[in-house]
């Protein structure tokens, strides 16, 4: 019993509870929205959301993982910046610029052989994504420009820039999408085609999921090691906690701010590469004046995952899961944007997390203290009785 309480009191458990609480409230709110807009079908619609990828069996689950892949990357981008004290709202711009770089290399650099081609495309995406974050990083470190504003501006510049560059180089004007990338640049399936498919006659109706999800998970583990097991990660985190103290401790805080932003940008850029290097059946870049939704959803992913790279893997899969559910819900008379409402609600309540982190342990500790105090009082009274007896004797 006591052990269970100790686990409840640990930081990790508290954090996980606050995330689960935010998710619960978000889903509840979503259900209320459904209930108001269409009472008769609300339960059915909500069930479809909760069933998420399971709605279309193994292929659906594969799609969940496919769309979770960029979310893991943008979540890592936002989460990594959080850990180092920066708020990277610019994942949308970094993501789409990275995506353009990957697609460009995928279409044009056909002289590269198969495994090298997609690797170079991913590296190119990382480079361009990093470059897109370098500007806000430098502005934050040397010109005192708040990174929130500058990354938002870079989002819009990136969106228009990517539209311009795609139209100028790799545009398929018939479909109004980016062109198919060369087969050598498509990410290999990585064994996932044996699991995530629905039988279709004698053949397979394959999910678009590919080894991108392996790469994303691998990168998450690497980020976890960098943040928690290396001096470099420690220095970055120290700057996040207290810039002045870390400067006093001999850490070059300006350099670290710039580096953090560049790494965050590179992560988001790779997300763009992993989503769009998925062959003819996969996603293509749409040329529209809308910020990349994968970039903004990196924020809830990072918040729910508490900026922990391993937690981010799970929260990305969760967000992708309910988003899929939202798409299937259109078979009823519902609008899929209810998922965005749920996600916004989850962020709003996860901002209260500090409250839960401080109040829940306080209540539990209070009970524990009370128990301890009772025990002490008992011991004292027993002691007093004993002395009394002794005195009588």
């Amino acid at each position: 019993m006591r052990k269970a309480k100790d686990i409840m009191l640990s930081d990790g458990a508290n954090n996980a509870f606050s995330s689960l609480f935010a998710i619960f409230i978000g889903l509840l709110f979503g259900f209320i929205v459904l209930l108001i807009s269409n009472p008769s079908e609300a339960v059915q619609g909500f069930t479809i959301i909760l069933k998420g990828g399971f709605n279309t069996n193994a292929k659906g689950l594969g799609q969940v993982l496919y769309f979770a892949t960029p979310l893991i990357m943008t979540g890592l981008s936002v989460g990594f910046a959080f850990k180092t004290g920066l708020f990277n709202i610019g994942a949308a711009g970094q993501f789409i610029m990275g995506a353009f770089a990957a697609v460009y290399i995928g279409v044009k650099w056909t002289f590269l052989p198969a495994p090298l081609h997609w690797m170079v495309a991913i590296l190119g995406a990382a480079l361009i994504g990093g470059l897109w974050a370098l500007i806000p990083g430098l502005m934050k470190a040397y010109l005192n420009v708040h990174e929130v504003i500058s990354t938002i501006m870079m989002n819009y510049i990136g969106m228009y820039m990517a539209n311009f560059l795609i139209k100028a180089t790799v545009y398929d004007s018939k479909k109004a999408l980016s062109m198919n990338t060369a087969p050598s640049s498509v990410l290999p399936k990585g064994g996932l085609d044996y699991v995530f498919y629905n039988p279709l006659g004698n053949g397979k109706d394959l999910s678009t999921v590919n080894s991108g999800i392996w790469i994303a998970i691998l990168i998450a583990i690497v980020m976890y090691i960098i943040l928690n097991k290396t001096t470099f990660g420690y220095e970055l985190k120290a700057c996040g906690f207290n810039k002045h103290a870390s400067r006093y401790a001999g850490i070059n805080e300006k350099r670290n701010i710039v580096l953090s932003m560049v790494i965050a940008g590179a992560l988001a850029g790779v997300g763009g590469a992993l989503l769009y290097l998925s062959g003819a059946n996969g996603r293509h870049i749409k040329v529209v004046d809308v910020l990349a939704v994968e970039g903004f959803n990196g924020i809830p992913v990072a918040l729910l995952g508490l900026s922990n790279p391993i937690g981010i893997i799970f929260s990305a899969i969760f967000i992708s899961y309910i988003t899929q559910g939202g798409n299937y819900m259109q078979t009823l008379d519902f609008v899929p944007e209810v998922i965005d409402i749920i996600i916004a609600c989850i962020i709003y309540f996860s901002a209260f997390a500090f409250l839960f982190r401080s109040i829940v342990p306080r209540i539990l500790r209070f009970r524990k203290d009370k128990a301890a105090a009772n025990a002490e009082a008992e011991a004292a009274s027993i002691g007093a009785e004993q002395t009394e007896r002794r005195e009588k004797e």
């Binding site: 010109l143 139209k167 609008v335 944007e337 962020i347």
Partner: protein, 319 residues
């Protein structure tokens, strides 16, 4: 000369919403709360008021309808801003995260409700523009000046300037303004002399909600004939205008016109002879306001005069 008139009129259309929303941002930040949710508040205000116009335009038109819509936009913004106030002031949570949540909520909500209520699940809300004043009586006949400021105008332009004057008076000439500024600079000191910091901060947040909601409507009316759940990042530009304006009303006016001009170049380049012949793709022009913002911020942030306590939740118990 006609081109000059056109550019000035266009600049007005783009600058006035920026001015109104940036002034709103100024009020919250002067009170000590960062309002990154200006964009979301604009969307909410524009959404409800345009939807109102869409529903009522059969029975009403012209300035009466516009004024009613303005009241609805203001009311929506105020109610929506309470959510930011609750999270930032009562719950003392991270103001940027709370604001980001509202920014994500607003467009999702607008699309969801529009598609649920409208026929065929259309998300664009259309309206007929019956609000343009071809020429203000008497004033419109003044040579040059009349053409620049009193022709093809909207009542919202003059409301914008009125708000500017009111903002200056409220912020610098009233007890309320002094107290609000104190809460943004040193809330502990303000509290020690009996000012209710939470209440003042709520006042700042609600004022910004009202102005941002209004700004959303003011932005959509002259520049479009439908509302598509977006204000094109205007709330964020307004935030930049506020920083460039150093949290001071008159400098914000100047900054708003600078950005309005940039935006005019971005959207009306095809009618400006020099730019139209330069054969630069439209995507490049669309980047102009945002690039200009970055450059301006680079030069104006080093000596930033942000309120000292902005973004820090006020906790009575903290030292």
């Amino acid at each position: 000369m006609n081109i000059v008139f056109l550019v000035v009129q266009q600049t007005m259309f783009f600058s006035i919403p920026l001015l109104i929303v940036a002034l709103g941002g100024m009020f919250t930040e002067r009170g000590g709360v960062t309002n990154i949710a200006l964009d979301g508040m604009m969307i909410m205000g524009a959404f409800t008021s345009i939807f109102f116009i869409n529903q009522m335009q059969g029975s009403m038109s012209g300035q009466t309808l516009l004024i009613l819509a303005i009241l609805i936009a203001v009311g929506t913004g105020m109610v929506f801003s309470l959510l930011l106030g609750y999270s930032a002031i009562n719950m003392k949570s991270d103001q940027i995260i709370g604001g980001t949540a509202l920014n994500m909520f607003a467009p999702a909500f607008a699309i969801y409700v529009a598609r649920t209520l409208q026929d065929n699940g259309v998300q664009q809300i259309t309206f007929t523009n019956t609000f343009r004043i071809p020429s203000v009586p008497i004033l419109g006949d003044i040579p040059i000046l009349g053409g620049l400021f009193f022709k093809n105008a909207y009542i919202t332009t003059y409301i914008g300037f009125t708000i500017l004057v009111l903002a200056v008076i409220v912020l610098y000439k009233t007890k309320f303004g002094l107290r609000l500024r104190a809460c943004g600079e040193h809330p502990q000191a303000a509290d020690s002399v009996g000012i209710n910091v939470y209440r003042m901060r709520y006042a700042g947040v609600v004022i910004s909600g009202a102005l941002a909601g209004l700004g959303g409507l003011v932005f959509v009316i002259p520049t479009s004939t439908n509302f598509n759940a977006t204000v094109a990042g205007y709330g964020f530009l307004a935030l930049a205008v506020m920083i460039f304006g150093q949290w001071k009303p008159l400098r914000i006016l100047f900054a708003a016109f600078f950005f309005g001009l940039m935006k005019t170049i971005a959207s009306a380049y095809s009618v400006i002879p020099v730019l139209a012949t330069a054969s630069i793709p439209s995507d490049i022009y669309k980047m102009v306001p945002f690039i200009a913002t970055l450059i301006v911020l680079a030069f104006s942030s080093k000596t930033s005069q942000a309120p000292k306590a902005v973004g820090v939740p006020y906790d009575k118990g903290s030292r």
